[in-house]
Amino acid sequence: MSKNVTTLLRELFAEHELEKFALQIEEQEGRIRLSGSVDYWEQVVTAGHLAGGIRGVRSVVNEITAALEPPPPYRAPVGNPTVIGEADVVIIGAGIVGAAIARELSRYQLSVIVLEKEADVACGASKANNGMVHSGIVQEPDSLRSRLNLRGNALFEEVCRELDVPFQRCNLAVNVFKEEELFLLELLKARGEMSGIPVQLVDPTELTALEPALSPEIKGALLAPTTAMTSPYQLTIAYAENAITNGARFYLNTEVTALEQKEGALTGVITTRGSFRTRCCINAAGVYADRIAAMAGPPEFTIHPRKGEFIIFDRESAVEHAAIATGILELARDPYTKGGGTMLTVDGNPEWGPTAVEVCDREDTSVTAEGLNRLLEKFSPLLPGYEARPAIITYFAGVRAATYIEDFHIAPSNYLQGLIHVAGIQSPGLAAAPAIAELVLEILQEEGMVLLEKESFNPCRREPPPFSELPLAEQNRLIREDPRYGHIVCRCEQISEKEIVDALHRPLPTLTLDAVKRRTRVGMGRCQGGFCLPRVLLIISRELGLPLEKVTKSGPGSPLFSRRTKEPLPRKEAISR
């Protein structure tokens, strides 16, 4: 098998390059390990994909480095060995996956602890994706991604109902612009049908009847009506809050530094805050899942970060935008993404994206001019009547935690008993999340964990409806109960003081400005907080008992202010002036 990789690598690199780069390939039981040093990150990724694309290869550890594009230096955090907790299951990472697993585990008579290095849940890809609950048509039919996508899509509506999170079936039109590409739709249709996904081919007339905003240049489309939209961060928050209500404990600002083991079995997890005794740990660490895996023994797989950029548009412009989600299918396309599309978020904002850019930095959430232009150029032809540029209100990027197999890696560790990897969760990770949690529970049972149902489990979480959407009489009733409802702080999204105060006192601590934003939408409108920022900060400061200058945007290292004005200068400086 390694011979295959060698052959493929020869196609990629000239003989002298292979020598210069000192590329080494090791293969063992379908696991490939690559090492050496090339010039560019793109070469690293290509080599990894070549290895991962070989039939029978189950995992790729890619240790090739790019001499001219080194990733930012990694500063290993210092662990604190003092034992501060104990649990039947410790979950590393409070993204959508970690939170979903925590909630599913909280059904049973188990103690569950979730460790999150950031100041809030959903701080990685879980907050920075398009919120689409995919139908599954683009997935390889026999992949784990496909299977869990389908199952997840089927479970999703019920989960959102239980957790009171927005869920809207939006339909998806995958479009082609060239007659000669119509056959691609037939292929996609066949693939969808093979997986049992409802799909429908439509001609241009049917398509524009369904969605008048779409371009008359479109030659045909495949509809996938089970496609839906949700709010990815609200769902993560809801999962976490429901898990907490049912007994799980979340530790924010807590980074894992080591795994403790005895005779090949896990005994504990050490973090920057202290250590936790446990015999079972779930690695849901997203872009850092390979680093966590390597704490248990030899590396088992490599995550290569792939950035996706998105643009969000003003809600007012939605009337000129398509209500259904759209995508473009073409022969010449990036093989590692279906290429993104246009959609409306559950909050009603048009959204375009994502791009797919391989990056060496796992936290490269920057949006580039190139990425913005690429999105605007690619998707503008779909909606000829939509003026995109003036409607932009924000943009962001997330990093997909892809493996070189380009499939989910959900399996017990090869080296450490009690450690389960839930890694490589890229698209359709959101749609698959409920099914991933289900699968993890199955694995835990196979590993010998006994799951006894808890009578007290409450599957439901309720969130009060947005004040601004209530009828007048109801608004008046609430204002009489609490006048803070009558104080609108965010004019764009019409959020009241009471709603902000409530968001600051929920089961899961809300510690930062961004965390308040994700729970209330405050500052997410067209002015992007220009008006309400000072007002929201005053409320956060008051409610959390934190001096204003200590309020952060997204946790430690992100102070919003340097000092109070009119403070006396420090003595030394005062004299030197």
Binding site: L372, G557, S558, T565
Partner: protein, 425 residues
Amino acid sequence: MNHEQIAVIGGGPAGLAAALAASEAGADEIVLIERDRELGGILNQCVHDGFGNLIFGCSLTGPEYAHRFVDQLPQHPPIKVLTDTMVLQLKQDRRLKAVNREGAFEMKPGAVILAMGCRERSRFQVMIPGYRPAGVYTAGAVQRLINMEGLMPGERVVILGSGDIGLIMARRLTLEGAKVLGVFEILPRPGGLTRNVVQCLHDFEIPLYLSHTVTFIHGKKRLQGVSVAPVDHLGKPLQEQERFIPCDTLILSVGLIPENELSRSAGMIIDPSTGGPRVDQDMATSVEGIFAGGNVVLVYDLVDEVTRAARIAGRAAAHYVSGVKRTAGRLILQPGENVAALVPQQLSLPLKAGEKINLYLRVSSEIRDAVVTLLRQGKVIFQKKLRIVRPPEMVHLQIESSLFEDLHDGEEITCRVTAQEVNQN
């Protein structure tokens, strides 16, 4: 439902002037609705002086200017003030919904005056690439933070955009002990008034980099620095000349947009060149009984001009509720060569004898020895010479209505600003 005669939305300079003018013109029930805890709007955070030269003949600070109006309110019993009150909705039939700590309520006044002012453009609207760390603020937000909340946004500051608030904040931050590393302006000329360039930058030795922009925002948690680069004549950054400036704060002063969410929800026509509703000489919008005054119509250079425009709206609204209406059609005012924005966009007929019409316009490019011309079917009906016209400085003309006497409903008048010699022939 309450049926006040006139509702004024916004208690900043425009709303104050409009309410007072409506009261002076005889309206007997006016409700002035302000979302903040006190009247005055943005003036309250403007602790610098320079306000009131045109109207009061002296240079006041923002709060002083506001109080010249607030102090008159007790002499105007028809004006009822509602602070801490947010208007959530305005419908085409003038029904509006508002909310405050006492409750949510609806009213249907006889006339509405829009005086919501304007808001700042964000980094996203000018599409600056990069990360989204703490430490990136709009100039107006920083002004409020420093002057009203007593908080410093940071210590090493880069300012993008040379609009007036950006220039004023460069000086303010310097006085508060921060280091302003430079003001970067994408255009080859400053965006703000000349007096502000001199008093806020030159006097403090703060460098101004024209034809430059910020090309990347660095920093995952707190701002670590920005990349800046000169731009070509199309505003495209010259990548090979990009350089990194370490800083902890980026302040944006990249333009103001009239705040027109309510106007749009009421279904009125918005002029894309001003960003505000189309208005006539009475500041009447395209929706019956709804008037607009101040920066909600057009972002003016000076608050004095806001006051003047809002007074017109206030007076006109009072006349409207007393039954005085212009119903004989309209003349259309069209921006022509070198006119980027023009207010009013139409003149409602009939015109009154001796009526003075205030025309505000912004040019697209600078011209020395310019001439403003009004044309009717290609024929010159008015000309005025100006020594210099510059995009940051609005042109104000006062025209006698007699000029338009023989014009009929539906006729167009084009306004252009050209160099003088072109018009000799």
